[in-house]
Symmetry: C2
Subunit: 363 residues, 2 copies
């Protein structure tokens, strides 16, 4: 159950992935025991929770939280274990976001395995229960996401409780904003997809909340606030995060269309079938000729797209993809350029490595 | 937007509903402002959040939390305002549970108004957006529930932060258990409904987590722990809550079949169409003759039931309903019998009134 962790996401602190895994495993063991005391029938819920949290994932948000902390605290400082625990809670939040996202998008695959709702539907079908496997899968996955979101709050609170009050309150503030902004970002994303518009500005606004704030800025500031970093340092990290977040999401968008399914764990062309309103598609729409625009309008969001149609869309998106590649490189470089020496040499090296990994990853 | 509040749920502390409403309104105003700063497109999410929290509701969980507190603290004691704030957060939790529950059950009506997912679907249809209004409604309601669940954690933490550390930790523990148990109870409920079994023991186990713990025991103990109540007092309140919780849920089950839609805010016979595996139905199944058993097996869980069929089912459920009525009266009396003088005269009077209201309400 240890799953795939890209070593590039844990620069310098090579032990961090193991520490996070230990926190998550320990916490989940306790919660699973609680569930099993309530009823043996909660076993499949417990198994699904473990799978959602422990099967793979890049641990990106906890890693940024850790390095946010390290901008103001030396390695092994008092409270570091607590911070790692609070940081681990961000993986529970992310697991909730993915489980609910897959229900909303109707995505059947996550990290190369069946999505949670598909897993529950399969359990229903195997058991031969009456009624609809799909309905059961959806209901169970909604509840699983709720459980993971509740547990995120619980583990976070446990993590920060020993910190000095002002620093704990600062971290709490970032955690609260993170939880609100990710839902807001998802809502804007669903709205953009539903309205069927292709608008570069709208695509960038969704990125701002759904990715930049949620994936990078808030985790970094959460760690920095917990460490007692200065307001100046927090502003610097926020600028880095806003820029790098855009690069990260744009890479995600390119991987969703051009990525290798063996590496991304998602079927090829899935984002096109779902009709994601990405900057990539919006740029192709505004820059393409009539033929390209008609093709995009007809095909993006069609769940029945054939492999050949996906291939045709890829060709049509080629020029926009080159624009997006250029933008990724520029944003990642600008992000790194925001880091002053005040960050300290180790954190600086880590944040530069993380920027490179986020901008140039293959999954 | 103040909605219907049954005065019987606020014995003694007549001002409590207003204090809770002020806390919720103030908190929501702040969060809605945050959303509106992000994007004007979040207006419908903000409106739906307000409606889910402020339109009606009995405020039962915060009321039990308040009276749990009062078992160990006099009226107006230091920290009471903070406790009321923490207690108000339980309404956000409950709003999440209802919004997600309505999605899972496919219930179109809540408190006499359109359920959240129906409200979002109607917005979609009104705007004439492409794609499926139902799909949009479901996605938006899942996100709304997530937002409310996150906000519950945020408001709770704000409420308990000024309490002495040990008392805050005790309240936090109850809040954490509450969040886990309600999801576990809902999962068991969905499972029982899916398997289509009619088992009185299973029905009682679902009640234990979904209602007794979530609605009464945890809120009471949360307040008691925050107030620094003794372990003995907490055990006494837990026994009261377990018994009263059963009475409360059994009344809910009767209202779901025999209640007046004008008072319950739910269409008549809705629970029968949804196929809820209640103790009422399980008792009718185990005690009825072959004709009754066949009728129940065929009709309970059929979403297309006619009014005449609902009426026929009501007749068939009559004998079981009398058993359930008897059980409600007995459990409520046993609950009240658990309260010793250590609870204090005011809290005792309130808890007795609450037991009466919960057991004999009409909505």
């Amino acid at each position: 159950m240890s799953g795939r962790v890209d070593a590039r996401y844990s620069p310098a602190g090579r032990a961090l992935p193991n520490r996070l895994a230990d926190e998550l495993t320990g916490f989940l063991d306790g919660q699973v025991e609680l569930l099993s005391e309530m009823s043996a029938d909660l076993g499949s819920l417990a198994d699904a929770a473990r799978a959602a949290v422990l099967d793979g994932g890049k641990r990106l948000r906890p890693t940024f939280a850790y390095w946010g902390w390290r901008t103001a605290q030396p390695e092994g400082a008092d409270g570091e274990d607590d911070l790692v625990r609070a940081a681990a809670s961000l993986e529970l939040l992310q697991a909730c976001a993915l489980v609910h996202d897959d229900v909303m998008d109707g995505s059947d695959t996550r990290r190369g395995r069946p999505a949670a709702h598909v897993r529950f539907a399969a359990e229903h079908a195997r058991a031969g229960w009456p009624g609809s496997p799909t309905g059961f899968g959806t209901a169970a996955a909604i509840l699983l996401g709720d459980l993971l979101l509740s547990w995120a709050g619980q583990l976070f609170t446990t993590g920060i409780q020993s910190l000095p009050a002002a620093r704990a309150a600062g971290a709490e503030r970032q955690f609260d904003l993170m939880r609100t902004e990710v839902v807001a970002g998802q809502f804007l994303d669903v709205l953009a997809q539903t309205r069927g518009q292709f608008d570069p500005d709208e695509a960038l606004r969704v990125i701002r909340y759904k990715t930049s704030k949620y994936t990078i800025v808030r985790p970094l500031l959460l760690g920095a606030a917990a460490a007692g970093a200065s307001a100046g340092m927090q502003a610097e990290l926020a600028r880095y995060g806003d820029l790098l977040g855009e690069a990260f999401q744009l890479r995600d968008d390119l991987l969703g269309v051009f990525g290798d399914p063996a590496e991304t764990g998602k079927p090829a062309g899935d984002d096109l079938r779902e009709g994601k309103r990405t900057l990539l598609v919006a740029l192709a729409m505004s820059g393409g000729d009539t033929g390209v625009r008609r093709l995009l309008q007809e095909c993006v969001g069609n769940p029945e797209l054939s492999e050949a149609e996906v291939e045709e869309l890829r060709s049509a998106l080629g020029p926009a993809a080159r624009q997006v590649e250029h933008r990724i490189t520029a944003r990642a470089a600008d992000a790194v350029g925001c880091l002053s020496d005040a960050v300290g040499p180790e954190a600086q090296r880590a944040l530069v490595e993380l920027a490179d990994a986020a901008a140039h990853r293959r999954f």
